[in-house]
């Protein structure tokens, strides 16, 4: 249980990476942008991959009537997410410490993992909703109104994950370093839960 608890302490700490590294990255490449424009999505706000990418993405998007990219103050998420991550790290580390002193069982570890996973899915859902709004809520006075082959208005929602061709742009959306750190951290807590469970089973066998 000691080994499991140490993993449970270390795992949530990996989430701290989200304060520095981006969670998600969306790249927009086109022939006239051989150096692709890019957007790093941090839990606390958006940043261009290169310094002026946000200005240049907004400049392009106004032709098709997309909103400008949100500033920190435009979205409650950028205030809330860092708090949630902080709380979850604190709770996770506390559970690990308590586990180390055998005050709580491994089930708490799995519980933390489940809660974090649930919140992660909610986060992804929220992110997707925003992408949807960003890509479809277009200015009716937009300069260019493009339609699909079937006559429906074209939308510009970037993919949640993966690549899509959008007009002349190749849009790729992938988890970034912060997300990978979170993933590693969460896997550690899952392992902690697993080790705790094995340990508990062994104890039970010994007891029998």
């Amino acid at each position: 249980m000691k080994k499991a608890s140490i993993l449970m302490i270390v795992g949530p700490l990996f989430l701290m990476g989200l304060y520095i590294f981006p969670l998600w990255k969306i790249m927009l490449g086109a022939p006239q942008y051989p150096d692709p424009l890019g957007l790093n999505i941090h839990i606390s706000g958006l940043k261009g991959v290169s310094e002026f990418d946000i200005q240049n993405i907004d400049g392009l998007n106004h032709y098709i009537g997309m909103q400008t990219l949100p500033k920190v103050e435009d979205m409650w998420e950028f205030g809330t997410f860092p708090m949630i991550i902080g709380i979850m790290v604190t709770i996770g580390v506390c559970i690990g410490v308590l586990g180390y002193f055998n005050k709580v069982s491994y089930k708490w570890f799995i519980g933390w993992f489940a809660l974090m996973s649930f919140m992660g899915i909610l986060g992804m859902y929220d992110f997707n909703q925003w992408l949807m709004d960003y890509g479809t809520n277009l200015d009716p006075n937009a300069i260019m109104k493009l339609t699909n082959a079937d006559g429906t208005p074209m939308t510009y929602k970037p993919p949640l994950l993966g690549h899509v061709k959008m007009l002349n742009f190749d849009v790729t959306s992938l988890p970034a370093s912060g997300a990978w750190l979170m993933f590693v951290g969460m896997m550690l807590t899952l392992t902690a839960g697993f080790l705790g469970w094995k340990n508990a089973k062994k104890q039970k066998n010994i007891a029998l």
């Binding site: 310094e51 240049n56 400049g59 032709y63 260019m144």
Partner: protein, 635 residues
């Protein structure tokens, strides 16, 4: 069978050889290995080409007004062309040279001379923009210029024409012993590159034709070829070609620098312009300088010597080791090579062969390293490959001749098309030439390209010199009359090439860094329009309250921060050019409306899908009208 085998062998040495086309082919999207900067001669500008493709990338305006970008037309760049003769919007640009550190190209700046109204320009190789032009007083025909020493300590400006110094009203036929030739040493600030005329050597009244700095062991010396040591003043074609030998003037500039630093030299009244472009304010300013420090060479013993050189030498080139000084007698068939070591030994042994105006003349035989007996006609210029070989152009016999330093043996010769002047090997004027290509610049084009009337662009030839024999691999037309060129590896410049000007660093006094700052201000009959541009509109785009007789200044700031997205601005009836404003930059254009009406302006650079819509109107009312000044966008 034997025959076919033999043929097969012949064609299959092929893995190593490739066709000329393959050697110059740079596939679409791929980039050249070298930058080549060719002077434009009478275009007054500098053109940038790629090697080996021969593709022209850019024309950099230097001494000439350039309507393409508004250089010399915009209020910010007009001061660049100020001189003591007033606004001179043209020159004859000859010899570019790239800055060096420890004798190797450092790729910070390129310098070029204006020959006609003597000037030296410095161009920043991050922005490829002319940043500074200094006029050279007491000089005329700034030809033996703008070569630089191996740590860019100095850029020189030697006069081609000797003239009365100071200028005065006097009979021309009293030229002899009254005219003087000035050799100007312009110091270069190691950090900012700013130029300052440190001293001017007042030499006998010969014509100072070309020059090159010493390097390595001869660092600290500068060598100038002369012609007209006869000091003829008329029909020089004949009268300046009588002496069998003219001179190479060897100048120990370190010695003179020391003399000057210790308070030597004579201050002389002068009047010359120093024009500096400030990248922060995007604006050039002119300072008129009133004084120049002159040095009489006789006051600094041991600073100047004459090396006799046959026969009206033109080119004066120093090899990468600094040992050999090549003087090409343009009326001779042979090349004369002087030895720096022998020169020093002769000076120390005081083996003089008389003097000219008190300057010691060394004995020809004492300084001669060797002669290249080439059989060509009219040798002009020599460059080096860094592997012990030299390449000399022969103007009259139209060829490039490769020969070996030390043995003076001719190794190879190839024709040029036609009447070649200078040639260039990247890094040619440095300790480290990049001896892969040589570019020959010709004066006559004849049948090389499709005819385009009596005037043809000049042609340049690229030779592959990586093997024992030179191979002509390409020729291409050039713009203007390229004299010399400078070249360097692309990797030296491409990574630090500037892509935009940062809007947040724009210190132009009339810049608007946010569209909300746009405004129109009247000051008497001057109206200042603070305008911003971004794809695809001007702010403001409707202006009213302008009156006939007003002087309207459009100060336009480009708000793009994206590489290669300039916006243009042109106003109908303007007596100047359009503007081309780079991202983050501010430029000003003046318009003096003479007729009432509603007059359009528009963007001249296709900037976006809605470029054509990027336009606006100015309403011009009669001079006595009382219409209020107003401006708007989107109303």
């Amino acid at each position: 069978m034997l025959v076919s085998c033999g043929q097969q062998n012949q064609s299959s040495n092929g893995a190593l050889s490739s066709s000329a086309a393959e050697k110059v082919y740079v596939a679409p999207g791929e980039q050249d290995e070298y930058y080549a900067f060719l002077s434009g001669g009478y275009s007054g500008n500098l053109t940038v080409y790629g090697l080996p493709s021969g593709r022209m990338f850019k024309e950099i305006p230097v001494f000439s007004q350039f309507p393409t970008s508004g250089y010399g037309y915009s209020e910010e760049t007009k001061p660049m062309l100020n001189t003591s003769h007033g606004f001179v919007p043209w020159d004859d640009a000859h010899h570019p040279d790239i800055s060096q550190t420890n004798g190797e190209l450092d790729g910070r700046w390129i310098f070029i001379n204006g020959n006609n109204t003597p000037r030296i320009a410095r161009i920043n190789l991050s922005t490829f923009e002319t940043e500074e032009i200094i006029e050279v007083p007491n000089s005329a025909g700034n030809h033996s210029s703008s070569f630089i020493t191996e740590n860019t300590e100095y850029v020189v400006a030697g006069t081609r024409f000797s003239v009365p110094i100071p200028q005065r009203d006097m009979p021309i036929n009293e030229y002899k012993s009254n005219f003087k030739g000035s050799l100007s040493f312009i110091s270069v600030d190691p950090e900012h590159g700013h130029m300052d005329l440190k001293f001017q050597l007042l030499m006998p009244g010969f014509n100072y034709d070309l020059s090159h700095p010493g390097r390595g062991k001869s660092h600290g010396w500068f060598f100038f070829t002369t012609y007209n040591t006869e000091e003829a003043h008329t029909l020089q074609e004949v009268n300046a070609s009588q002496n069998d030998k003219d001179f190479i003037a060897a100048v120990n500039w370190k010695k003179i620098e020391e003399y000057v630093n210790n308070g030597g030299g004579t201050k002389m009244p002068a009047n010359y312009a120093h024009n500096v472009y400030d990248e922060g304010t995007h604006t050039a300013t002119t300072t008129m300088k009133k004084e120049v420090l002159t040095v009489d060479p006789l006051k600094v013993p041991g600073a100047v010597y004459f090396l006799p050189t046959p026969k009206s030498p033109h080119g004066c080139d120093v090899d990468p080791t600094g040992q050999y000084i090549i003087g090409n007698g343009k009326l001779s068939a042979d090349l004369t090579v002087h030895s720096f070591d022998k020169m020093i030994a002769a000076i120390e042994g005081e083996k003089f062969d008389g003097e000219a105006y008190g300057i010691p003349i060394l004995k020809f035989e004492d300084v001669l390293a060797g002669q290249v007996k080439s059989g060509g006609l009219g040798p002009l210029h020599t460059e080096f490959d860094g592997k012990g070989n030299a390449y000399t152009t022969f103007f009259i016999s139209s060829e490039v001749v490769k020969w070996e330093l030390g043995t003076w043996e001719v190794i190879d010769r190839k024709p040029t098309y036609y009447s070649v002047g200078h040639l260039m090997i990247p890094g040619g004027n440095s300790r480290k030439p990049f001896g892969k290509y040589v570019v020959a610049m010709n004066k006559i084009t004849k049948d090389r390209y499709l005819p385009t009337g009596p005037e043809m662009e000049h042609s340049a030839q690229i030779y592959d010199i990586s093997g024992d024999k030179m191979e002509l691999i390409y020729d291409f037309p050039t713009h203007g009359e390229p004299h010399y060129a400078a070249g360097c590896p692309a990797e030296l410049l491409a990574p630090k090439s500037q892509k935009i000007y940062r809007l947040d660093e724009n210190k132009h006094p009339y810049a608007v860094t946010s569209p909300t700052g746009s405004k129109v201000v009247r000051e008497g009959n001057e109206v200042h329009v603070y305008m911003s541009t971004i794809r695809s509109h001007f702010t403001p785009d409707n202006i009213e309250g302008i009156k006939v007789g007003d002087k309207v200044y459009f100060h336009i700031t480009n708000h793009e921060q994206d590489f290669d997205v300039p916006h243009g601005f042109a106003m109908i009836g303007q007596n100047t050019s359009e503007l081309l404003i780079m991202p983050g930059q501010t430029k000003t254009s003046v318009w003096e409306p003479k007729q009432v009406g509603v007059w359009p302006f528009y963007c001249t650079d296709f900037c976006s899908a809605l470029h054509q819509e990027m336009q606006g109107y100015v309403r011009v009312s009669p001079a006595n009208s009382n219409i209020e000044l107003s401006w708007s966008l989107g109303e």
